[in-house]
Symmetry: C2
Subunit: 247 residues, 2 copies
Amino acid sequence: MSEILDSSKTRLFVDAELGAGLSIGVSPSQAHYLSQVLRLKSGDKVALFNGRDGEWIAGVDGAGRGWCSLSVEIQSRRQLAEPDLWLVFAPIKRARIDFVAQKATELGVSRIQPVMTRYTQVNRVNTDRLAANAIEAAEQCGRLTVPAVEDPLALDQLMAGWPTERRILLCDERGDAPGAREALAEKSGAPWAVVIGPEGGFHPDEREKLRRLPQSTAVSLGPRILRADTAVVSALSIWQALVGDWR
Amino acid sequence: MSEILDSSKTRLFVDAELGAGLSIGVSPSQAHYLSQVLRLKSGDKVALFNGRDGEWIAGVDGAGRGWCSLSVEIQSRRQLAEPDLWLVFAPIKRARIDFVAQKATELGVSRIQPVMTRYTQVNRVNTDRLAANAIEAAEQCGRLTVPAVEDPLALDQLMAGWPTERRILLCDERGDAPGAREALAEKSGAPWAVVIGPEGGFHPDEREKLRRLPQSTAVSLGPRILRADTAVVSALSIWQALVGDWR
């Protein structure tokens, strides 16, 4: 199996159903990538995943301008359960928000939920671009799924509909939250969300509301001021190491 | 004290000694930033730190083309001990290496040590640019020091002179290393280094040598393939949460 995998380092996320013997087409941009950028020829292999059917090795059948047809051959990895972890974050500016989508995907987030808070400086979020970043990162990091990218919600709206069973890891810039080892000592990998405020932090009222939620566990990310994008990577890493699938 | 601090969000790293009543000049680029970009006037305040004397509030005395003179007034923060944590990492390409220097600084690293490994793709490291990135990040994140940026060393050379007492957190892409909670359970905040390989990972011989060092603790960063810059932020965050000053 490892030989098959090594021979196909190219991984593509597709919509189509995957199974032995199926023939599938890819999007025009994927076709361009396969035939013009990678210059794959008939018989060359790629790996495909769709978030449902595991990872499959497929061979190139033929390609032309804007199309490429592939034959699905053999399953290289079975679909596995992945952490049920949302990232809720206040959007930031262009390069850094792309970065957040990429890193959250690498770090195993299942859903990316932008949230508008009082100190959020950014009014519009290009969720299509975030989704494209998430797909590319999922292809590169070996995931079998792509996180869902949701439309932005106001913080109040999000909190009003918050699922009872979903815990919140709240990264609190105030110095009085405990460290992660203590705060997450007895926690399980049940549904969670990591919640990160905007560059200026949450408004005191927002922070108070969030901390009072019964689902909420506040942790400190130390004495230095982290940029919002750093806080995202730090908090997700700590969650994975202490509660998630890095254990 | 907090009023004084709030009135001066501009923080500058300087070489000069800092103490009440001292008058100091800043570099031409800092002078340009203060007088042309921020348009500070006589009497406006900034915060200064030099890595030794804590943080001081200083008032602008005067400024002209390429110079700015400041009077040091009152100490706003005392110099505190910071974690003794090195980051040893295989250099990566331009934007991502800048990012590593910035994030390592925010995450409290005391020394940034590029290391050349067999699979390292980058031959030259612009340590001046790394140092400039580290200074800017230190100014923004509220640190009282700037990490030392060292010239690159070959991995063998680095290992040959490795200090006996400095522990190594080795981020191992092989699946057989334990998770961080287990691996770092009984560890203290004594001198440490986080060691991160290049995008392709360490050569098996290199990994074996590193794992065999008595100072070495290997940890897993989970089942997904992390980019080298993500691994840097993840590993430093986990170290800070479990061993460092985020506890």
